[in-house]
Each structure stands twice: as structure tokens, then as C-alpha cells.
Symmetry: C2
Subunit: 338 residues, 2 copies
DNA sequence: TTGTAGGCGTTATCAG
DNA sequence: CTGATAACGCCTACAA
């Protein structure tokens, strides 16, 4: 493998000291335009690129951001992967690379992260976060950020989370403004925080517009197509004029149930889903020839913002502890004015 | 942030030289059990972890593997992401971490990769691979591996690819052995190599069993649910007894068309799909209450093997140029004996 | 079995 | 504006 040249060789070629070269490549300090050009020429001729490892050692900073993904089964669901994309983008825009730690189940990452000095800061994502890792990182004062709302006893971590409450409230208000009052909600949960928040937003909208909350219209947690299908079948017995559904898979199931019942969207029932899985959502829209109105989680933006937070933190800038990112209500063709 | 201790401090605490400590942490050279214990004790007391950056600089090796993903729209489809998972796992098992480069569209990565000395080797994945990057890396003798079959003029790269020909051939043979001869194929393509190979496998199976190839049963490229739906509608006019479909989305579309035509799987028609999107495939199986027989691309294994190849290569081991990974035929409930 | 000296490629510090 | 010198933390080579 061809060896690349180093700073000293460039210095020799340009007839200056290594520090001058260093100043040129870092745009730091004052260098006369003349020597500057000499150095740049030498750099070009030798095809020189700084060795980032050596730089990291000297600077005690790698410009690498760590991302730890705690997954349930060692494989990331699509949802996570889109966020990872965003983190990468955000880091990249600020001059950082991303080192992804994952897939070492029931293993702790924190020692490798804090000691190895390979990453300057870290982002944690996932449901099954390793508590030991957090305490470890926290105690060492190592910069870290969560994706997702977190409160850990005794620790007030930095985190960024989608604003599920607000997003769902806006969607529900949209329906109410269209004249709907009998609005179903598929996706209640007492365990999963985002789903809990979604229901909260739904309730807030009803409350604000003096619509009475009817538990009969609310259905339990639904993560799958089949769940959505079954829930909708039950819900239809209540003759709702609109429905809000938890996630993409459930939405597909639910709309199938609607179709099977001989009902039309939006003529007979208005539908708002969550397109947490955008790829699938688009495919499905194409397929049914209808653009569903959805609440979109800007996952890439979420990841980007997480990267920005972490970098702001590790660079010692003032950083707000909690951050919320707005969901987008995609007002498409599946809602009708009553 | 609390500073971690270094090798010299450990040496002092243990009352030995830094080299002895180095030997202990690397299990290299001979160290008497007694001093060894002393050192280990000091390491534990100081909570010492080697600084990987310094080690990398000294060894000129980072134990980090690079993965470049060339994406079409800056966001990876689910398919890629599962492979990335696998690469990570494979790298991890061999003591490597993974640095993922992506999302810098129309940008070249190769300089950063080969010069920065942050990665010891690199894996390239994606359709829109940057030719400049390849030549660059190739000319420098920097270790690299492709995921996906590649032949670049003048270059015979190392690559690993799913064996689409064999996988599809096996599936088709399975159908033939069940007595089918009128087997549809949805997903022909002259552009996309994997799809091209799938058709080849289909044809090989027919040829081997002396079944005449009928182009009327073969339908053009289909990447979406809608494509699959439309193709199947056409295909059904030919009254096939079985069909093989290109990918998960198309399979969902196709089975919907079958259902709409009032036909039953597998009673009226046998179906074999590709579950390139496993998450979706499982959801759909649940939903229709039928386990579709599929050809599965072991994406995690594919990624793992890519990592193994790249690492074998960069460590200077003998490594075969081309590697194929077998697809798994999941013999489930959607095929019937005639 | 253990230690000493020097180097990996860069940046920080302090003089000039 | 420029340069010598000493880190950064570890490893390799050689010596004892």
C-alpha cells in the first residue's frame, strides 16, 4: 500500500518548518501569503493529507461522535435506521464523523467509549438502554445526549424527542375543525411513552374544543398490521367519523378493515396515520391510490438535531437540557369536512 | 471531564517500566506471573484503559473498518440498513469498530479514507458507486471490498454477493418438483443485476427440467407494491399455477391481486416471494394469516461476510476474490403439490 | 524477564 | 511572521 506523505516532508519540500505547514493546513496563526503559497504548492505536489490519528492524539480530540443503539434483537428496525442517517448527516455538517456502536447485546459500551478516546461525545438511542452505561458516562462527565424523552433517577440528562403530544393534538384539532367529534384513536399504551403522549395530545385537543372524551373510541396499543385491522373492526361498530392511528403498520391494517367494511376514505371516514415508516407509507399510498394524511416524525431532522446537541455539548457550548422537535402534519387526501 | 490515567501512571503505581505494562495489556512477550499480577492490580486500581488513538498512531492501525454507502436520496432504504447491521456485527466479532461514511451526496470519500488513516480498510455498498473513489483506492492499494457483484473495467475487485441465480433456481426447481410447469416470474430487468440473475436462475431451473420457457409468463421489473399488483393481474390471464416474485413490496401487491381475483394461495396458485424486507414480510404474513414461502437474502450474514473479507484482506491474509452467499429458501405454506 | 531509547505525525508553547 | 522543542500515549527494537 502506498504510504502517504507527512507534514515534515511537506515542510522540507516547501523549505519551511513543520509548524508553518501546520499553520497553513489549520488556517491558524499568521502566515505570510508568500510562504503560504509555497506550502500549498508542496502540499499539492506531495498529495498530502493530514493524519487524523496523529492530530487526534495531539489535540486530544477526534472529531468523532459515537452513537450507541440499544436494540432488542440485534437488528435495528427501520425506524432507528432513519434516525441514524440523520445523526450522520448532522455530524457530517459540523465536521464530525460517526462511529456506531451496536449489536453487542447485553454488553456495556461505556468503558470503551469514555476511555478509548475514540469519540468526543456520545448519543444514546433505543428502548433497552443500559443503565450502567449511563451512570458511568454521567459520572465521568462525558458528554452524552439521549434520543427520546428520558428521566433517570437522580440524573437530568440532555435529550431530544419528537413532540408527540403537540403533533397528535394538532392532527386531532384539524379533525375537530373539520367538524368531527366522534374521533377514534388506535394506539393507546400505558407502557410506551410515545404512545402515551400521543393519546395525551388527542385528549388535549378534545378538551380544548369541548368535545367529550369517549373511552369507547380508544383502542389499546397496536404495533402491527393485524392489531390495526382488529382494532378498526371493533372501532367501526361505534360508527366514528374519523380515526387517528398510531403507526404505519397499524394504519395499513386499519384501512384494510375500512375497505372490507365497504367504506370509503375520506367519504365515509377520515383517517390520519403516523408515517413512522416513510418508505412503507409511500408504497402504500401508491398502492391504494390515495395520499393518506399523516403525522410525520422528521426522523432525519431528529437525528441531525441530536448530533448538533451532542456536538454543542462536547464543544462546551451552552446547550438546553431538553429539546423537542415538531412533528409535521401532512394534510393530504384522507380527511373530509363534515 | 475526569481524565483517565495512562500507561505511565500504571507503570509507576506498579513499580515497573511502561514496557512491562504494555506487555501485560497486550499479552505479548514474557512477563513473570508475579509482576503481571502487580500490573493488573495497578490497572484495576487506576481504572486504566489503553488509549486507542495513541495505540493506533504507534501501530499505524486503528482496527476500524470503513463502510461507504452510496445512496440515491441520502436516506438508506431498509435493505441497506440490515446489511450495515451485519457489517457491524462481523467487524465487532473480529475486534473492529465500524465507521460509516454516507450521506455526503456527490462527494468523494476516498481521500479521506485512504489518507486520514482512520480506517484500515473499506467496504463499498450501493448502486451509485463513485468510480473515482474506486480507482483512487485501487491505485493506492488500499484494501477494499464490494458488496454486490462488480466488474469494473481493468479492475477485478474483491466482492461478496448473494447468489441470486442459485437461490432462484432452487425455488423454481422446488415448484417444478411439485408438478408446476406454468410458473410466472415477476421482476425481469435488464438493468438491475440482481434481478437479471434471478431470471437466469428461473431459466436454468426450467432448462434443467425440460420445461419450455414461455416469455409470456415473465413480467418486467417491479419494485413497488403497485407494480406487483399490476403485473399479477396481467399474469393471471395466462392461468399460471405458480409464480415467483422479485421482492417484498411486489409480493404484497401480487398477492392482493390474487385475492381480488377470488383465488386462494396455495390452493389455486403457488407463490414464492423474496423477503428482502424481512420486517415487512413478517408483518404481512401475520396479516394474511399465511406464511409465504420465500427466498431469503441473509442480509446480516452478507454484511458479516463482507466485514470478514475486508478484514482478512487488510490483515494480509489470502482472500478469495469473489464470494457468493447462499440464499435461503423458506419452505412455508404458499406452495402446493399438483 | 525487564528496561531504555526512539519514533508514530501532529499540535502547543514559547522564543526569536 | 517563523521556528525549535516538547508533548500526546503507546509500541518496536534493541539491550541488559
Amino acid at each position: 500500500m502506498t504510504r502517504s506523505s507527512n507534514l515534515i516532508e511537506v515542510a522540507k519540500a516547501a523549505g519551511v518548518s513543520n509548524m508553518t505547514v501546520s499553520r497553513v493546513i489549520n488556517n491558524s496563526g499568521n502566515v505570510s501569503e508568500k510562504t503560504r503559497q509555497k506550502v500549498l504548492k508542496a502540499i499539492k505536489e506531495l498529495n498530502y493529507q493530514p493524519n487524523l490519528i496523529a492530530r487526534s492524539l495531539a489535540r486530544k480530540k477526534t472529531n468523532i461522535l459515537g452513537l450507541v443503539v440499544y436494540t432488542e434483537q440485534g437488528v435495528h428496525p427501520a425506524f432507528y435506521n432513519e434516525i441514524i442517517n440523520g445523526v450522520q448527516k448532522g455530524a457530517s455538517e459540523l465536521g464530525y464523523d460517526l462511529l456506531v456502536f451496536a449489536n453487542r447485546e447485553d454488553q456495556s459500551y461505556s468503558d470503551r467509549i469514555t476511555h478509548s478516546s475514540f469519540v468526543d461525545g456520545v448519543i444514546f438511542m433505543g428502548v433497552k438502554i443500559n443503565q450502567h452505561d449511563i451512570r458511568n458516562v454521567h459520572e465521568k462527565g462525558f458528554p452524552y445526549v439521549f434520543i427520546g424523552k428520558r428521566e433517570i433517577e437522580g440524573i437530568h440528562p440532555y435529550y431530544i424527542s419528537p413532540d408527540y403530544v403537540k403533533g397528535t393534538r394538532m392532527a386531532a384539532e384539524h379533525l375537530i375543525e373539520l367538524g368531527h367529534t366522534k374521533i377514534g384513536f388506535i394506539g393507546q399504551s400505558r407502557i410506551i411513552e410515545p404512545d402515551y403522549d400521543k393519546l395525551l395530545g388527542y385528549q388535549e385537543a378534545l378538551f380544548k374544543h369541548h368535545v367529550v372524551y369517549n373511552p369507547q373510541l380508544v383502542f389499546e396499543e397496536s404495533q402491527t398490521q393485524l392489531d390495526g385491522y382488529n382494532a378498526m373492526k371493533e372501532l367501526l361498530k361505534q360508527k366514528p367519523t374519523a380515526v387517528i392511528i398510531n403507526n404505519t403498520y397499524a394504519t395499513i391494517g386499519a384501512t384494510t378493515a375500512i375497505k372490507e367494511a365497504g367504506l370509503q376514505i375520506p367519504e365515509d371516514i377520515s383517517v390520519i396515520g403516523f408515517d413512522d415508516n416513510q418508505e412503507l407509507n409511500e408504497q402504500y399510498n401508491d398502492f391504494i391510490g390515495l395520499e393518506l394524511s399523516t403525522i410525520r416524525i422528521p426522523k432525519v431532522e431528529l437525528g441531525k438535531e441530536a448530533a448538533r446537541m451532542a456536538i454543542s455539548l462536547l464543544e462546551g457550548n451552552e446547550t438546553p437540557k431538553a429539546n423537542f422537535i415538531d412533528l409535521h402534519f401532512m394534510k393530504n387526501d384522507s380527511c373530509k369536512k363534515l
